[in-house]
Structure formats: C-alpha cells, structure tokens
Amino acid sequence: MKAIVCVKQVPDTSGKVAVNPDGTLNRASMATIINPDDKNAVEAALKLKDETGCKVVVVTMGPPPAQGMLRELLAMGADEAILVSGREFGGSDTFATSQILAAAIKKLGLEDDDIVYCGRQAIDGDTAQVGSQIAEKLGIPQISYAADIKKEGNTITVKRMLEDGYMTIQTHTPCLLTCIKELNVPRYMSIKGIMKCYDKPVTVYDYNALKDDPLIDPATIGLKGSPTNIFKSFTPPQKGQGKMLEGADMSTCEELVGELQKKHII
C-alpha cells in the first residue's frame, strides 16, 4: 500500500507580490514555499503511514530547484520523492499538468489499495482543477474538500465540506482525495528527519522516462498541449488615495454601499 501525494512549490503570495513592468509576475524576487493545502495532504499521508506503516511517496512537477522542497517533505517523514522535470513540460495548463502527473503516478505504479492525496488548490493559480483532472485520467474516484478521512480496509469515508455544511461520502481505493486545511495540522520536520532526508531517494522523471505513456504526447503536454492559453495578463489600476466620505449620516452610508457594490464586494 502506498500514499502518493502531489505537491507544488509556489511563490509565497502572503508577502509582497512583485510584478514586472510587462505585467507578468516577478517570480525570481519572491520566496517559494510548499503550497499550504498540499502540506495538509502530506500530513494526511503521514498519518496513514503512522497507522498502517504504508509507504509515502511525494511527487512534484517543476524546475530542478523544487528538489529542495522534496527534501523538506522527506524530512517530515515521506519515504520517497519524485521530481517530474523537463523542458517539454513547461508552460502546461491544468489539463496538461494533470496528463503529466497522471503518467508519473502510473509509472510509479498505482495499486489497488493506494490513495492519491492532493491539496484543494495551489495559491498561485487558485484553480483547484489538477486533482480532479488527475483522478479522471487515472479513472479513479475523487473526493474533494476532504475535512476528515477514515479508512477501513479498502473503504474510505470522507467528510467533504460544502459552503453550508458537509457530505459524508464513501468510496474505495484506489481513489484521489483533495485536502483542505481543516483536515489536520501539518507536522514539522524532525531533526532526525532532516539528518536522514539526504539518504532517501529522489528520483527524476524527465520526458524520456514518461514518453511511452499514451497520456504523454506533444499534443497533450506543455504549452502546445494546453487547451487554454493566456490571452492577456495585466495589473489592475494602482490603488489611489483613499476616499473620505463627508458627513456621517445615512446618505454617506448609502454612498459607501454604492461604492462597495460597484466593486462587487456586496
């Protein structure tokens, strides 16, 4: 039995977000972190390992520096790490990304009692699409927004959050779960883990390692294989000086509400 976790390294958007003059994001100037929801996914997998002794494999797609993040995850307790990296994969949208990650998971070998964990969404793209799309391409059931996970044999019972409550959903392995922060509190790296993390294997899957999979085709991966393209990216007008609303009466409040409505906040 394996717990496979898909993880993404993302720019830290809680700090200052730097934008280049041409309107693209200045990624070089921003610190990178492990995507927060993915940390909850890793924790869920490590909990399963604590209970059952299963193997935890973390998978990421990204440039070679993402190896640093994988070492951190190994230091948290993951057993094995896969870096999917190649020029051919660059520029992928969610569709193409999920093709590649699904192919990587297939190469890793998806067994009957395995669980694939993802975060609900990454803070850089905010799409929440890759998990569902991987599940579709692997032909396995998915449960998203998991806030509680129970496993009995090959039956998985999940508390899936809705805006106004939750559903309890049952499925079977192999399956894919996307995790939210309500699920758990991610553990820290341990000193022992940090000492050992350089002894654990990090395997690189490049284009040649995956190219025999039918999911990997120039027409389905990378920039050319992405159904969606960025047409324009731009920065909204700079926030100007704030507006003082004169008088403190009902009409002032109505003016404020009008402004908030214009901005779609109400």
């Binding site: 309107g23 569709f95 803070i123 809705l162 409550g165 959903i169 731009f234 909204p236 003082m244």
Partner: protein
C-alpha cells in the same frame, strides 16, 4: 479523450449553463450565470440553454425561473441517481449530453460542487477550463472597453486587438488579485469556465420569457455501477466562527467601542453577519478583555487579507496596519479625522461608530433587498 471531434469548432453552438441545485433548491448564483449567458448569447446570436440535473420532478419548480432570467431552453435530466450530487453521475450525464449536442460555451458556478465537477468534465471532454472567472466577453469591443476601465495596459495595445476574434475571453484574478489574466481556449470546444459566485449581475425577471421557455427532457444513461462514490448523508449546519485568516470579510473593533462595549461588539457582529464574515479586534480590544485572543489582528495577532476589512474605532497603529493593510478593500470609521487608519483605508467615514454602523447596516440590508 473525448471520442468526438471537438476541434471542429464550427460544429459547436450555444451557451450552456450548468444549473446547480441542492436538495431541490436552485443555487441563487445560477441566475447570475444565466443572465451573463444571455448577454454572451446575444452578442453571438445563439441560444442560452440551462442544463438541470436532479431527482424526479426537479424541473417543475425551476425551469420557469431559469427562463425568466434568460434561458431559451432547459435540458432537464431527472433520475433517482441524480437526486444528490456525485462527481461520477453528474460528470457522466453532462459529458454525454455535451458530446451529443455540442455547445460552444459551458458555464459552471465556482461553488464547492462546481469546482469538483468542472475539471472532471473538462478532462473527459479534452477541453480547457478557466477557474473562478470574474469577467467574460466574446465581443472584442466590449472586452476592449473593459480593459480600458480595469487594466493599466497602454491604449495602443488595447486598440490593436483583433476585432474579428470570437473566442470567449475569460478574465480571472490570480495571486490574490495582484494580477489579472484573460484566458482563452482557442482550439477546443466547449469553452468551459467556472464563475465566481456573487460577481456577475443577475438580470431582470422577465415574465414573458418565463412562459416561453422550452423544456427538453434528457434521458440519463446511468446505472448504479457508474457510481464509485456513495453519499451517506448531507448535513447542513450553521457557520461556526471561521478562522480570521480564511474569512472573506473581517469587521474589527478597537478602543473606539469602549463607551459601550457590548453594543459595539453586537454591531460588529451584525455587520459581519451580513457578509458571512467574522469579527476581529485590535490589541486594545483584546487586552481589555472584550474579545478573546484568537480575534486579534495585527503584528502579534493574525495577518488577514480579506476582500473587505472594516475597521471600527481603530486608530491604526503601525502594529495593527501590518496585519491588515493588504486587504482588498478597507473601510474605516473613526471619530478622529487624523487617525492613521485613514491612510490605508479605501473609504473613510469620520464619525461616531455607534451612529454610523447602524446606518451602514440599514443601507446594506436595503441594497441587498433590492438586488
């Protein structure tokens, strides 16, 4: 990959909206989508079609309303297996129907359900999906007008846009709204988008259109074996106190409520409640014991960046501002017009919060009622 030729763009026509219902109740955001679809369809000269899935009789109560806001037709698929949302059943019926009827655009609300369903369908149909859109255009003139208003792009670049382009231009915020991106899906159909609830405007209720709506029943090719997940229960619950950092709206109180703490907090709670937000406080409010420590915003408390931050009676010390100045919109109410909070506020009202906040509450209620 879908087993039909979804790259032959000319085969596809019409704007579809997935009409999400829960326990037999239409999700209100669907009407925003229908109204938007109407505009897009008018620009393209095509039909708006609602796609409604549910248990027996689900169509009876909803098709008229969908018609009233702009649907020419509603495809209704009633089946016991569709009574409660499951990814498997819904994705199968939607993909089968899309493959059979070939819409050009498919819109889905970006609810927890829509964000589960959309990507599963897009992956199966082999097409593109843009998440959480806040603005949609087909017509290039309208898109150019939007860019002039909402972007810092040079006019020359906007004027250089190809006026003959008929792709759906899907605009969405990225990186917490610091950057906007317009995404297109030029080679595959349908062009799919999930749309952020509450952003697009609901149109006018049109009685004549409600009566003219065409209903077409769709037969679901569905059996128990198609469902790999089983819903054991659906529980509705009142919102618990949300974590400050995850809240879309935060209403914070400071020393300014000291003259009547109980009322001050009640007002903040009522205001926050109107938005489904939470109450926070400055260090002064926490140290005075008016609120518990988990409500504290600021350097030693929590850093928040909600869509709306309302500061009531908070002077705006640098330690407080450090925890909230990246909020998308900041409203400050303070007695002193020289309070530093006004330096970071988008909108400021100088006045007594005990008088201003009740009026604000009334104004918001009135605005919501007329929506």
């Amino acid at each position: 990959m879908a087993d039909f030729n979804n790259t032959n763009l000319a085969d596809f026509s019409g704007v579809w909206v997935f009409c999400e219902q829960r326990q037999g109740k239409l999700q209100p955001t669907v009407l925003e989508l229908i109204s938007e679809a109407r505009k897009l369809a008018d620009d393209m000269g095509v039909e708006v079609c609602g796609l409604l899935l549910g248990g027996k009789g689900v169509g009876d109560s909803m098709v008229k309303e969908l018609g009233a806001y702009g649907a020419d037709k509603v495809l209704v698929c009633e089946n016991d297996l569709l009574e409660t949302y499951t990814t498997d059943a819904y994705a199968k019926v939607i993909c089968d129907t899309v493959m059979a009827k070939k819409p050009e655009i498919l819109l889905i609300a970006a609810t927890n359900i829509g964000r589960d369903l959309g990507p599963r369908c897009a992956a199966r149909l082999h097409t593109g999906l843009t998440a959480d859109c806040t603005h949609l255009d087909v017509d290039v003139e309208k898109y150019a007008a939007f860019l002039k208003e909402a972007s810092t792009l040079p006019e020359a670049q906007i004027d250089a846009l190809d006026r003959a382009d008929r792709n759906l231009k899907m605009t969405r915020p990225a990186f917490g709204g610091h950057l906007m991106a317009t995404i297109i899906c030029p080679r595959f159909r349908p062009q799919m988008a999930t749309v952020r609830p509450g952003v697009l405007k609901k149109g006018e209720y049109n009685e004549a259109k409600a009566n003219a709506v065409v209903v077409e029943k769709v037969e679901a090719q569905l059996s128990e074996a198609d469902l790999q997940t089983k819903v054991l229960e659906v529980v509705k619950e009142a919102k618990e106190l949300v974590d400050l950092t995850g809240a879309d709206v935060v209403v914070s109180v400071g020393r300014g409520i000291s003259k009547d703490v109980e009322t001050g907090i009640k007002l903040a709670e009522e205001l926050a409640g109107l938005f489904g937000g939470v109450v926070g406080g400055s260090r002064a409010a926490i140290d005075s014991g008016w609120l518990t420590a988990d409500h504290q915003v600021g350097q030693t408390g929590k850093t928040v960046h909600p869509k709306l931050y309302v500061a009531l009676g908070i002077s705006g010390a640098i330690q407080h501002k450090a925890g909230m100045q990246d909020s998308e919109c900041i409203v400050a109410v303070n007695k002193s017009d020289s309070a530093p909070i006004f330096d970071v506020a988008d909108y400021g009202i100088c006045g007594d919060l005990f008088k201003v906040v009740p009026m604000m509450i009334d104004a918001i209620k009135a605005a919501k009622a007329s929506k």
